[in-house]
Symmetry: none
Subunit: 204 residues, 4 copies
DNA sequence: CATGAATGAGCGTTCATTCAT
DNA sequence: GATGAATGAACGCTCATTCAT
């Protein structure tokens, strides 16, 4: 068998496992993933899982990577649709929110690795965050050049800050969804817009 | 034995258990707390633990309450030291950061119950968060009266937003501590100050 | 305090405990009785229970004794209402069934000690069964004298047999209640009457 | 490894567990069976037990099924040895008694599931009882055709009654074994024969 | 490569009984 | 006599990982 073919087959199983894990986590949540079920739903023997992933944790990491990559793609797409730096930042925050809404599991995975300092965080994973950071930094720099963003703020620090604030707001929206929907003059969108307003006004 | 004395003794054991749990969590992290070790380190039989707490979860909740109360106290103290609303908000964010640095476990507990919507969240626990919220809302209103904060922003929404952003920044500082300290022109304080600046400028 | 008064008070607590145990068992079944709840519902400290009963098992035994005594009383009453030996035996079986229906817990206790060879079975408890046996033997002897019951059967053996058969039928009625009520031409009464018929015809 | 061989091996472990459970229950009684000991005596890790049985209860159910099947086999064999319906019924009762004597644990299991309405009773288990019932009903019908059994009695009701009575007598013989052997003119066989006589006379 | 049977430490919780006060 | 805090063995069950085949 040609090596290529083998690799393909290998890739297939790898994907099979990840898909099974993803489906299971969507159904039962991040924390109740267990290898028995991954084995069952991937139609692969339990031992086989360990040929493709060194541990359960590694499966999580792989999915978290996938989630980050998808998030980056959403950000990049959002940015392309806008011309003005300020609008681009706004678009990124909105994209973040849309991502959270459409892919709650993926967002949970992103947060999970963002909040907990996992030892399994690979360079590959960090690289994606780096690219997100660079994307934002680029926009900020453009904004500063265009005089729309306060030039005295260090772009990389600001991108850092923005990431932290945004993740915080997203978590708030996720966790306090019930609280928010009960309030008379509160809604997720209002909170989100308020955040965007404060943030954008703050960096002018 | 006088009843008072008994209550004191009972309180002592309660504290003993919480202390053991706290120590263990500081050593091994929030998630690896187990009742066997709590029993061992509190010098109490395992069954005894259940005389004071209905479940392991209840121990966590008790510690989370303790953490919230302490956080509130820090906020209140910080506010008292300042006169100007803007300075008070600043002081709260700084207090939050100090709290995180000095009591990482407590902060983790606050976040834990903030992020995960635990069913064990009692009214007592919610009440503390409410008081924090009201503290912040009060300051915002004062700021608006003094013309220092944009009056068009709804105070309760803003307090909500501020809480989300701040928690997000704190998490960032916690998780990315290593990353930050490696950067040449980055430091936790710079990130924090940048956040404060953006936030305060944003609400003017 | 006069000794009599003390004894009365002692008796009161004893009864208090039994009542609590009985109420609890009626609510949750024979097997889920636990000393914590007995303590709580009797308003007596847990240690106090052990001043009146050496063990949980002894509480059960005391209730089983009570149940047997009540059963005997029902039998005696049933017998008094009839003149003919055959009618008296019939009345006993009916009384047994009524007892089961009206006091399911008591019947369960009777069966429990009948089926399992408990080590706690006291002489007092055996004595009640003996009195039931003697009651039945007396009737059988009368029946034989009156020529209504086959004289070749040993009365004590027959009373023994009757007890076994009847307990068996009662259990069947209790356990298979659902099965019976589902059958088109079956009912508890039909099964009971059939048993009585077979039994009475069998001893003629 | 051929699949057949695997199945054999799997069957072996299954049997190993059941055997260990059986041995333990013979030694310590039905109720003190626990998974730790089953694990120890089967030379299998505790987790392994759960590969073959979903729960402890399922082990009990498996043994109860085994017991019922064996009982049915005894009944069928007993019936085959006789030609006359009455003799066949007699043989069934005797077989029941022999079974109780030779396999007290199995009998206890049969009773256990007969007395307690377990939720784990499977269709397979019910089916065996059904076959026993049908066996008896068939004999009764034959007896009625042959004019040896009162035709006015409904066969299914009678089989029901017979089962109840017989189980009752067997329990009596089991529990009161000591009492019986102490009596001067009592023996298990006398009680049994008396029961059989009463029953058979009663259905004529 | 692939399998899946086997492992066993680990878990949270219960509860009859004891005993110092 | 009365208390009730304390005990700790016991329990059924889970699950990530290993390894002989």
């Amino acid at each position: 068998m040609p090596k290529e073919k083998q690799t393909t087959k290998k890739q297939e199983k790898y994907t099979l496992i990840l898909d099974a894990a993803e489906t299971l986590m969507k159904k039962k949540g991040l924390y109740s993933l267990n290898m028995d079920e991954v084995s069952y739903f991937s139609n692969l023997a339990k031992g086989t899982l360990y040929l493709y992933f060194r541990s359960k944790e590694e499966i999580l990491a792989a999915l978290a990577l996938k989630a980050r990559i998808l998030l980056l793609a959403h950000f990049e797409k959002a940015v392309l649709n806008e011309n003005q730096p300020i609008q681009q930042l706004k678009a990124i925050i909105h994209a973040n929110y849309t991502f959270l809404k459409n892919n709650p599991l993926y967002y949970e995975l992103v947060s999970f690795y963002e909040i907990n300092d996992r030892e399994t965080e690979t360079e590959e994973m960090s690289a994606v965050i780096l690219r997100i950071t660079e994307l934002v930094i680029g926009i900020i720099k453009n904004g500063q050049l265009a005089g729309e963003i306060d030039s005295r703020i260090d772009p990389s620090i600001l991108s850092f800050t923005m990431w932290g604030m945004t993740v915080g707001i997203m978590q708030l929206l996720k966790v306090k969804a019930a609280t928010i929907s009960n309030h008379p003059n509160l809604s997720e969108n209002i909170v989100l817009d308020n955040y965007i307003k404060v943030f954008l006004d703050g960096i002018k």
